[in-house]
């Protein structure tokens, strides 16, 4: 019986190895195969002792060759490992890493989203003679060893909302959060709360979550991973992957495949290599703090020693996160820092309280922000000379000083004095009425009627006339400062609604000039160039552009991307997809960050993220409103890999700091905005508006159809649908943008805007 079990285990190991290596021919696998077959053929003729000895030799051979095969693993093999049904899951972690746990809000498939698992768990630790119990909130994706209802660990929007709720509970109870990332990506659904918008909400909240967060990556698929992984310490498993897109998705984009077509396995392998998705790559680029070594060919649920290591690492990471901000640490801090491979049980011997005081919590949030802001700085090029940088640094320092003086020292006192004066005036007014009214009544003189004085005749005329063309209230032909070059073509254009709305053909000269790309009959908005909005709405001609030289590069050395980047730079005359400038909209100064479509589809990489962060900081320093004008964005730039994905938490941190400082962060979508940016620093804005030409979403129709099997109706991502789903706050006509924007600046936003 025992022999049969051992043989079955070896068979399973061989099948697993074959699954991992796919169709690739390998000498070690062939040897394992033949040796196992040899044993099975000879098994009957052997006595029990000989069988045991032969089996032991075979098991040793399996161990040896598995170690050899482990060293031959490529990135795509690792992808297959994390997706394998035998890979350990979050349930295995809860069973083996924590001492006790209670799953919350779900039992098997009876859950809001079975792909997301929440549990309250506790860790019992003996330190000296005392035993301590420490509680944590465990949040993660559950793949359930291939259970169908788990959706492979793809969290639906409401699953991420559930995760966020658990984080808030942890914050209230002051216990750390352990986030386990086992997701190939978020499930692309637009229904409220919306895949993108919910991830954005999660990121925004995590950027200010006042408890220690430790994230462990096994399968980190882009936005789905980021939704729970904005952490103080990020650990990664040695056989895991963390990537901007699945290698299959990257291959489909690379090969320009249409929905339904499949990329060749060779191209998928090549893309997996180019994307630099392994733990070692991510560690060397600084996106994770530490790599946890797994057993050869990846950890499975029966690897007990691995789970003990995992437990030590998680405890150590939580201790580290706490110790960086805790007041009393002294020797313990030193002990944590001096950790090395030999001191395996030290984590168990160092005890730190995981509940933090109010000031330590503030420091924790600040340090978390700083960590993310410092990431991926190497992944863009700043062509300024050292003198230029020095000058910019001095300029920043001067501005910081001025702001401190103007807004914080003088401004604050001035505001306080004005507040007091206002209160006093109101009191005096009330007092006067109380004294004067009875006296008047006694004297028999009733209070005079206080109606509005009769306005002057010219004012009356101005108020009652319907239109005043001489004052520019009517649109004239020369009303736009910048007109599209398409208006120079002498041709007619058909409105897409012609069949349903009976729109006549439009003359391109009218349409793209005077009509501002809007159909005169049905109001359909044709997409316009980014310059249109920059010049006609945002006053780009008089604006001061900053960080214009910051250049997008090819940080991963992605094959063939340098050429494409050069071409784009030449064609667009831009260094990156982000243009940042200071401008005045109807007299109100504002900082604008624009993402423009012609530069690699407006995709966000390290340079764009850095410019966005700097723009948010500038707006905070100067107490200006901050406007993100999204002409179009296709998402995160896949060729930059995780250096692109990391812009999601990075920019969200910058935005959160700005909003918390009391600013107004306003997002305006123009053409097509999808994926990562919408699922982070754009989607987290409390004020998001769209021009009528906008389409907003998480994944395109092709990806939605491929992932969910749902037929995507036409106009599924239109701004009207986004408005109905509650993702944005309003839809604006392009011709009224400037007026609406000015109105928004005056009516929305926080306390620290200078014009308030």
């Amino acid at each position: 019986m025992d022999t049969e079990k051992r043989v079955a285990a070896l068979r399973e190991r061989l099948t697993y190895v074959r699954d991992i290596f796919g169709d690739r021919e390998n000498a070690s696998i062939r040897m394992l195969d033949s040796k196992l077959a040899e044993f099975l053929a000879a098994e009957q003729g052997l006595d029990r002792l000989e069988q045991n000895a032969a089996l032991a030799r075979l098991e040793e051979l399996f161990d040896l060759l598995e170690r050899r095969l482990d060293s031959e693993l490529g990135p795509m093999d690792k992808v297959r490992i994390v997706r394998h049904p035998q890979r350990f899951c979050l349930k295995d972690v809860l069973e083996n890493v924590y001492d006790s746990y209670a799953e919350m809000g779900g039992q098997g498939e009876h859950s809001l989203d079975p792909a997301v698992l929440i549990a309250r768990a506790s860790l019992l630790r003996r330190v000296g003679r005392k035993v301590f119990s420490q509680s944590v909130m465990v949040i993660g994706h559950e793949k359930g060893h291939g259970e169908e209802f788990r959706n492979g660990g793809s969290a639906k929007p409401w699953g991420n909302a559930k995760a966020l709720q658990a984080m808030k509970v942890a914050e209230t109870e002051n216990i750390p959060v352990h986030a386990w990332v086992f997701t190939p990506g978020a499930y692309p659904l637009e229904d409220f709360p919306g895949a993108a918008q919910q991830i954005a909400r999660n990121l925004y909240e995590m950027a200010g979550l006042r408890v220690p967060v430790v994230a462990v990556f096994s399968e980190g698929g882009s936005g789905g991973a980021e939704a729970i992984a904005l952490a103080d310490r990020r650990l990664m498993l040695s056989h895991g992957y963390y990537s901007v897109i699945s290698p299959e998705g990257a291959a489909a984009i690379e090969a320009g495949l249409k929905p339904g077509q499949r990329a060749t396995p060779e191209l998928v392998e090549r893309c997996a290599e180019r994307l630099k998705i392994t733990a070692q790559d991510n560690l060397s680029m600084g996106f994770v703090d530490r790599v946890i070594q797994e057993p050869p060919l990846g950890a499975r649920p029966d690897h007990g020693e691995f789970f003990r290591l995992l437990r030590r690492e998680v405890i150590h990471a939580t201790n580290e996160a706490v110790s960086q901000v805790a007041g009393m640490k002294l020797v313990r801090g030193l002990a944590l820092r001096r950790r090395d491979g030999r001191a395996v049980s030290r984590e168990e011997s160092v005890y730190m309280r995981w509940d933090l005081g109010a000031r330590a919590r503030d420091r924790l949030v600040w340090k978390r922000g700083q960590r993310f802001l410092a990431m991926s700085r190497w992944a863009r090029r700043d062509p300024r000379s050292w003198a230029g940088r020095l000058f910019a640094g001095i300029q920043d320092a001067v501005w910081a000083g001025l702001t401190l003086f103007r807004h914080d020292l003088v401004g604050r006192h001035k505001r306080r004095v004005m507040d007091v004066m206002e209160e006093l005036e109101a009191e005096a007014h009330a007092l006067k009425r109380r004294i004067v009214r009875p006296l008047r009544r006694l004297a028999g003189r009733p209070e005079p009627e206080r109606g509005l004085p009769e306005p002057a005749p010219e004012v009356q005329e101005m108020l009652t006339r319907l239109s005043r063309p001489e004052e520019g209230s009517c649109r004239s032909e020369q009303c736009w400062e910048w007109v599209s070059p398409r208006s120079l073509e002498d041709r007619a254009v058909t409105c897409p609604n012609a069949r349903t709305h009976g729109c006549p053909d439009l003359w391109a000269r009218d349409l793209f000039d005077e009509f501002a790309g809007v159909c005169a009959n049905c109001g359909h908005h044709f997409p316009m160039e980014y310059q249109w909005c920059l010049h006609n709405v945002l006053g780009f001609r008089e604006a001061y552009e900053f960080d214009a030289g910051l250049e997008s590069v090819n940080p991963l050395g992605y094959e063939g991307f340098d050429l494409k980047l050069d071409q784009t730079r030449r064609n667009t005359r831009l260094a990156s997809a982000c243009i940042t400038f200071e401008t005045a909209i109807e007299g109100v100064n504002a900082v604008v960050a624009a993402l423009v479509n012609p530069f690699r589809g407006g995709s966000v990489g390290a340079a764009e993220g850095e410019k966005f962060v700097r723009a948010a900081e500038r707006a905070r320093r100067k107490h200006y409103p901050f406007l993100a004008y999204i002409h179009g964005t296709a998402g995160i730039r896949i060729q930059e890999g995780v250096a692109g994905v990391i812009q999601m938490p990075r920019c969200t941190v910058a935005v959160r700091r700005y909003i918390e400082a009391g600013g107004l962060y306003l997002v305006l979508y123009d053409t097509n905005s999808y994926a990562g940016p919408v699922a982070s620093f754009l989607g987290c804005s409390p004020y998001q508006f769209a021009v009528r030409s906008a389409n907003i979403g998480f994944a395109g129709p092709g990806v939605i159809h491929e992932t969910t099997g749902m037929a995507v109706p036409p106009h599924y991502h239109s701004c009207w649908k986004a408005l109905s789903r509650g993702h944005i706050q309003g839809v604006w006509d392009r011709r009224d943008l400037r007026k609406n924007l000015h109105h928004a600046l005056l009516t929305m936003g926080g306390r620290n805007l200078y014009y308030r």
Binding site: E489, D490, A492, V493, T494, D505, A711, P713, P714
Partner: protein, 216 residues
């Protein structure tokens, strides 16, 4: 009385609908690479989002617009002499032959044979309880309706009012709405057929269901 047999014979003699593709406006025509006898498809897709087979392009003021097939069928005639020429709005460019489907034939017959009673306003409609009971027990073709008979309850915003049938006397042949669904104004609620034609219509529909052959 309607001669349904004659009507069906007429359809059988020519089971096609002839579609003339006309120029929607003036312009220069370029025909797509189609020949007489080629099959074309109409608008498809679950949301009718995919246009039919491209038939021609019509260019006016440098605006090249596609003209697509409105229905599934076969090309009967292409006016090749117009290729590259300027045409007026309404000029026939091509002729398509659309073979009627089973559903379309039945619809045509029912349209001729039945009296449709339509919804006067957008609301939820229910049969009055007695009729409802009878429909459930003995089937819809057992209920006889006549002018002025109270037949429906119109429920709108929780207010319920009775609605009387108006039209020729007969049996309810088909019901076009479901309980609890909102019905738009002008949509058919029931189709009524004269009592003596009921069996004839039923036979005819069964015959079409079994015998009508649709081309691939």
């Amino acid at each position: 009385m309607l001669d349904i047999k004659q009507f069906l014979d007429d359809i059988k003699a020519s089971p096609y609908e002839i579609i003339e593709v006309k120029a929607p406006h003036t312009g220069v025509v370029e025909f797509a690479a189609l020949r007489v006898g080629d099959k074309v498809t109409g608008v498809t897709g679950s949301f009718k989002e995919k246009p039919g087979t491209l038939l021609a392009h019509l260019t006016r003021e440098k605006n090249r617009k596609p003209i697509c097939a409105p229905e599934r069928g076969e090309v009967m005639e292409i006016r090749k002499e117009l290729e590259g020429k300027f045409v007026e709005a309404g000029d026939t460019l091509m002729t398509l032959r659309h073979y009627l489907s089973k559903k379309e034939v039945i619809e045509l017959i029912l349209k001729k044979a039945l009296h449709l009673f339509t919804a006067p306003e957008r609301a939820k409609y229910y049969f009055i309880p007695e009729i409802d009971q009878k429909l459930k027990v003995s089937g819809k073709r057992s209920v006889k309706v006549r002018e002025g008979m109270e037949l429906f309850i119109v429920s709108r915003m929780k207010r319920e009012t009775p609605l009387a049938y108006s039209g020729p006397e007969g049996l309810i042949y088909s019901v076009y709405f479901h309980r609890g669904d909102n019905v738009d104004a002008g949509q058919a609620l029931i189709g009524v057929c004269p009592e003596d034609q009921l069996t004839l219509i039923q036979d005819m529909v069964t015959k079409i269901q079994s015998d009508w052959e649709e081309p691939d």
